[in-house]
Amino acid sequence: MELVSIASATPTSIEVSVAANGRTRAIGAIMIGIGLFTGLVFALGVSSAAHSGLTFNPVNLSNAPWHLGNLTVVTRWVNLVIAVLMIALGVEVVLRSPRRAVMVRFGVVAVLFLLALLFWVVRTPGPSPVSVINLTAVLIGSSEVAMVLIFGSLSGVMCERSGVVNIAIEGQFIGGAFVGTMLASTTHSFIFAALGGAVIGGLLGLLLAFLSLRYLSDQIIVGVVLVTMIGSFSSYLNLQVFTPFPQFNTGTLAPNLAIPLISKIPIIGPVFFDQSGFFYFMLILVGAVSFALFKTRYGLHVRAVGEHPRAAATVGINVIRVRYINVVLGGAIAGVGGVAFMASQGQFQPGYTSGLGYIALAAMIFGRWRPSGAVVASVLFGLSVYLSQNLQTYNVPVSTYILNMFPYVITIAVVSGLIGRVRAPAADGIPYHRE
């Protein structure tokens, strides 16, 4: 028996961790680089007289018992503090190469970068700012985008953890938004709207599952075809139904459900506790999916099916059934996400999801196929999407199109292994057939 312990014939684990450390250090170096850029351009590159105006008051002032005055900060100093913070995080990663949560630290640096950009954009030469940036409004606006992205990336996590690539999230968003506005307009209930969205998303998931599991079609192609089909079909229906009968597309905004007391906390209250029901449902869903995937028997089966379906099959797990269930559930989650998006816009418009489903997929990858990671990534991408849509109002010298590229550039960096190593479930996208 002793001999066997000597006979470890493939000794690579030590080298692996060395290589991983090297990559971790590279991430740290990138973080330091971004910090230096921020310090040089957004802080030292600004005249010391420049000021940035901030306010934290919620848009709906009557809802706040408190009133924080406008805050005017010296652009150079506040950005210098941010830059130092970024560099400190980078140095910590380089020196300590923490095994976990490197991506989270990187996400924090990315958010700080966007904040510094924001301060830099709204700076004015003198101490009395011309334009004031409402940080609370920025956070609330970003949280609405992030919420939709989280629904989408949770959908992706559900499907891909079981080994099916769901590239049709965008289509499920559109389908959910369409059905959602009809039901919300006619029943005036967002619960019915959400249920309808879940059904249509689930049905689209079922179609994807059927084609890729029954007929072993290429999952990417089926997904893209579904998105294109739903996009065109919803535009057609929009023209045939909503244009002549606009009363079916008045969805209206989902009302905010303020949680007593804690919603009054400055900044945090309006961002987290004065949101629509969809937002709270999303929070619960993140916990539920995370719990189900990593703590339960069901989750163990799902992950086994996504990693090594044949191994799962040999212990009696029905691979195809697990995949059907997950793709349908994932589709339903994306469908609800579509309704949530509609409810934040007030109605349906053809093509107005403008690629959010794909950004959600990017968030899933950046979040390493984990619900918690997907949340961090969605917050980051949500902020960048919101800023790209709203920065024009501040006369930004950066084109919004460039800012629109941000989530995808990060995704390319992540997928190419530039920022850390991400590993998809081993059987992701590979059809399974019984011998």
Binding site: M1, L3, V4, I6, A7, S8, A9, T10, P11, T12, S13, E15, V16, A19, K295, T296, R297, Y298, L300, H301, R303, A304, E307, H308, R310, A311, A312, A313, T314, V315, G316, I317, R423, A426, E435
Partner: protein, 504 residues
């Protein structure tokens, strides 16, 4: 468990993989199923394990006929299988892999990992199978992964264990350890069905031997029978187990590598400063357990993988980081490890595959267009000369048996003027007849005064062919020894235990 297979027949279309096979395994018995690749052993085991459904015949467990819809049912009836390719999820822990499908749960369907880990500790103690339940499987050496597979079956209360070619990936020491485990399991009353084509292992461990050929039981044998008797029963004719070689008269140095460093697909150093040289009239055999850098070394020599540092020289020409075509033109013949991926274009004809490395050269091409008459003439000649069994030279390479596919590659590589032959796992998956043939071709080539490098993880092959044996471990050469060296000593080198080995 007393297991009886009665008249099992399994057909795939017109092909009968199992024909009226009957076997009985008694409790506490190690029953060995001996047969060549393609004899129908794996099909039979898949039938027994519920992965395939038999067309005829019965499976009887302790006197009671059973039918398995899927392998989950087989597992529930006490049948455990250790697959040749492990059925383990690499990113899961040992515990997660062992409990998969049989999880103890707490409220709301949560897996009770504490109970699971305790159970695993108990079972591994009971059967003396030491393994850390919290280790991630992909970080474990292959021998331990196999132990996890065995542990998995035992945790599911298996009374009968099927071991499908379990030694293919193990070092000699790991094989000994596995044999010990098998004996102690049998002593504890478990029945074991051991599937293999390796005669030494059969003789070492079997209580009863059933020999299968072409889907039929052709006889039973005793472990005391000689290897020659077992081999001829398995193949159906007398087999020559030793390769005739003329005396070793090495000539000038033909091939040399110095301080070679090569990375694997993950960017990790796989070949770490290897130096070797091969002389004319010599076969240098490179032994070692798979995954110790041999594949990367061969790919680097063939020009298929980037060399980080070091040099490769063939007949005085530096071919480091040369393109595959330049390497071939320099006089290298290459029989690759994976014949389907790198050796053949399966969807192309036998004739085209036979000129795969020289299509643009006369006489197979003229004025930039192919000379199909020359291709046909070449194919007809080689099919004759190398005894390639095919219905037509225009048949797709995919329609040939594994042995004949390998013959196509051997014929292609050996039929042109070569300075140096490099063959990687040249007989993997072949039947004894084809192994004999390929070995004879390689040795004939050497007897004509040519230099060869043979890479193999089969110790028997290394010992049969090598004039010198180099052993590779963890990207380095752990020793170069004479073929008269004992198997145990070579086995130790394969685990990286470097002794004061004599360089010959």
């Amino acid at each position: 468990m007393r297991l009886e297979l009665r008249g099992i027949t399994k057909r795939f279309g017109s092909f009968t993989a199992n024909d009226q096979i009957s076997i009985t395994v008694e409790p506490g018995q190690i029953h060995c199923l001996l047969g060549e690749n393609g004899a129908g052993k794996s099909t039979l085991m898949n039938v027994l394990f519920g992965l395939l459904h038999p067309d005829e015949g019965e499976i009887i467990i302790d006197g009671e006929p059973v039918k398995f819809e899927d392998s989950g049912e087989a597992v529930r009836r006490g049948i455990g299988m250790v697959h040749q390719h492990f059925m383990l999820v690499p990113v899961f822990t040992v515990t997660e892999n062992v409990v998969l499908g049989f999880e103890p749960t707490k409220s709301i369907n949560r897996v009770d990992y504490k109970k699971a880990t305790d159970d695993i500790r108990r079972v591994s103690k009971e059967f003396n199978l030491d393994v850390d339940p919290d280790a991630i499987v992909e970080n474990l050496p292959v021998g331990l992964q196999q132990r996890v597979e065995i542990l998995k079956s035992l945790s599911h209360d298996a009374e009968l264990l099927i071991l499908d070619e379990p030694t293919a990936v193990l070092t000699p020491q790991e094989i000994d350890a596995l044999m010990d485990i098998m004996r102690s399991l049998a002593a504890a009353g478990k029945s074991i069905l051991f599937i293999t084509h390796k005669l030494k292992e059969v003789k070492a461990v079997a209580d009863v031997i059933t020999v299968i050929r072409q889907g039929r039981v052709v006889g039973t044998a005793q472990p005391t029978d000689s290897e020659g008797e077992l081999a001829s029963l398995m193949v159906g004719r007398d087999v020559n187990l030793t390769v005739e070689k003329s005396t070793f008269t090495p000539g000038e140095e033909v091939f040399e590598i110095r301080d070679l460093v090569v990375r694997d697909d993950r960017g990790l150093i796989a070949v770490n400063g290897v130096s070797l040289d091969v002389r004319a009239g010599e076969i240098l055999a490179l032994a070692g357990v798979q995954g110790n850098g041999q594949t990367e070394l061969v790919e680097a020599i063939a020009g298929m993988r980037h060399v980080e540092s070091g040099t490769i020289t063939l007949k005085g020409r530096n071919i480091t980081n040369a393109s595959p075509r330049r390497v071939l033109d320099a006089g290298l013949g290459h029989i690759p490890e994976d014949r389907h991926r790198d050796g053949l274009v399966l969807s192309m004809s036998v004739a085209d595959n036979l000129v795969l490395n020289t299509p643009r050269r006369a006489p197979f091409a003229k004025h930039g267009s192919r000379n199909l008459a020359a291709v046909k003439e070449n194919a007809e000649r080689l099919v004759q000369e190398f005894d390639i069994r095919t219905t037509s030279i225009y048949e797709d390479a995919s329609s040939l048996s594994g042995g004949n596919q390998q013959k196509v590659i051997v014929a292609r590589e050996l039929s042109r003027p070569l300075d140096f032959l490099m063959a990687s796992q040249p007989t993997r998956g072949l039947d004894v007849g084809s192994i004999e043939y390929v070995h004879k071709q390689i040795v004939d080539h050497r007897n004509k005064g040519n230099a060869s490098l043979i890479v193999s993880s089969e110790l028997d092959e290394v010992l049969a062919l090598g004039d010198r044996i180099a052993v590779m471990y963890a990207g380095k050469i752990s020793g170069i020894v004479d073929p008269s060296t004992s198997r145990e000593a070579i086995g130790l080198l394969m685990t990286g235990t470097t002794s004061e080995s004599e360089h010959v």
